[in-house]
Subunit: 300 residues, 2 copies
């Protein structure tokens, strides 16, 4: 290993903490893949073990959230060179029962929501989630009362319009991690379930104008480098499209069982049996829910 | 941080190298999330820097593959306690041009394959990939000539039958990481593109019998804890279903744009316009391809 000379980086993955190098060893090519190890179950000794990071740097706080970097190496101090850090810590204190539930592992279940189950149980759950001011944060954005400074691009037409904002997880700079949210201006579509064959022209225009708008705002990004998808179930019931760089691994939110590509939603509607009112209300939808979720506990 | 007392582990993710603890601090609950840092771009100094891991353990080789564990801490030696390792290394030497291509980052593209593009270009690509003995490894398994000892469960009916084997990535023990492959016995279906409305009864029986078979082989696993999906495009053109534990993060192979849930494939066929011969040959399919792939370079 120590005789390797490094030529160049072939690949890296900041999500899985791996990096791959092209190297030379004994006059022939070699590939070195380095990967940080996962924590072992007895990491409860993380901060008390002789291995305890000698250097801990507190680098920010916001309300109950506190962030730290730490380094095991006595010779390297994170506040001199943060790149020398081995570990990140996030501390949430004080933590409520809601926080504990949110951060606990939960088991997952594969369910099939038939049109009958949707009509009988899910529809009123969705209406509840749309009522009592719960979507006010969305309407404030659509009405231009909030987050105006964050808008990336938009179309203000009442029927065809939409607004694109950066997702809070994106640093708004790294193009390969572009992660945006598109809210439609019309207020009559709660989710995939409300999409019908008659919406196909509207969806096609949405798809092409969002892509064009984002790429105009970020030259260097091409339209076929974006993944446009919806969630079912979504986390709030006002139709929104996620537009994310294909280079970006956004985790479970992009999995089959949660995400549906907008292009495939459109083509499924186009080839569906029935008239203009036929749509996703007629289809069995298979997806994944967590056992801690309201959907599982109240309905499935 | 040092005043925290640890109560229990709430969650951990060996893929992203994070662990979440419930703790107590100043008599109230706190949540600590620890995460290994990603490699910084100048990690080409990985093995020559003063930070160079003093302890490197070679723990296996197979042909051109060599594996190592390493620890930065002078006090902890991986060959005494492998759990003390900070880094894993995989060395491939000598590496060929094919290896270098495989391990290099590639850009991704979102494409739409229309029925016309499928008929005109993709069909003959698929036929090429099914010919010249390329599927012999599959037929050897179906004929019982290979991997008999690895079969988890099967149905030997010529038309309705299938065989389930563990995926090579699975240790065949950890239920939460269950990762299996189901090959259908019939040889006339190359991929999703060949599925028609008339196949719905066959697909429904496939879905229920695979789930039942796997859960009978692994008591403790329930049928709704499995994700059953197909890939488009698949890595070989003989229809196969992936059956994976919902607890298992299998990465990009489970993303929308690659994976389609079997339940949704069935329901899309059921609600599709047309007669029994209508099917996925009639649909625009949106998915992701890598710029290094044959599909991109030869067709898209």
């Amino acid at each position: 290993l120590r005789d390797l000379t490094f030529d160049r980086i072939l690949n890296q993955d900041t999500r899985t903490k791996t990096i791959t190098y092209l190297c030379t060893l004994s006059s022939s090519a070699a590939i070195l893949i380095a990967e940080k190890t996962a924590f072992s179950p007895d990491s409860s000794t993380l901060l008390t073990h002789p291995l305890t990071p000698p250097n801990i740097l507190h680098h920010g706080s916001n309300d109950i959230y506190h962030w730290f970097l730490a380094s095991h190496s006595a010779g390297l101090c994170p506040d001199k060179d943060p790149r020398g850090a081995d570990l990140r810590f996030t501390l949430i204190h004080p933590a409520t029962e809601t926080h504990i539930r949110k951060y606990s592992a939960q088991k997952w279940r594969a369910v099939v929501e038939t049109p009958e189950v949707y009509d009988k149980y899910v529809k009123k759950y969705v209406e509840e989630k749309r009522g009592s001011g719960r979507l006010n944060w969305v309407y404030n954005i659509l009405d231009g009362k909030a987050e105006r400074d964050r808008v990336i691009c938009e179309d203000k037409d009442e029927e065809w319009g939409w607004v694109v904002l950066p997702d809070s997880k994106w640093d708004r700079t790294t193009l390969s991690a572009l992660y945006t949210l598109c809210l439609v201006l019309r207020r009559d579509i709660s989710s995939l379930r409300d999409l019908r064959k008659k919406h196909v022209p509207w969806l096609r225009r949405l798809q092409s104008s969002i892509s064009a708008g984002i790429c105009a705002a970020y030259p260097g990004l091409e339209e076929d480098q974006l993944r446009l998808y919806v969630h079912y179930h979504p986390s709030y019931y006002h139709l929104h499209i996620h537009a994310v760089s294909l280079e970006h691994d956004a985790g479970a939110g992009q999995y089959a069982g949660k995400a549906l590509l907008l292009g495939n939603v459109i083509s499924q509607l186009e080839t569906m049996a029935g008239d203009d009112e036929a749509g996703f209300q007629n289809v069995d939808l298979a997806f994944t829910v967590g056992e801690e979720s309201e959907l599982w506990q109240r309905i499935f």
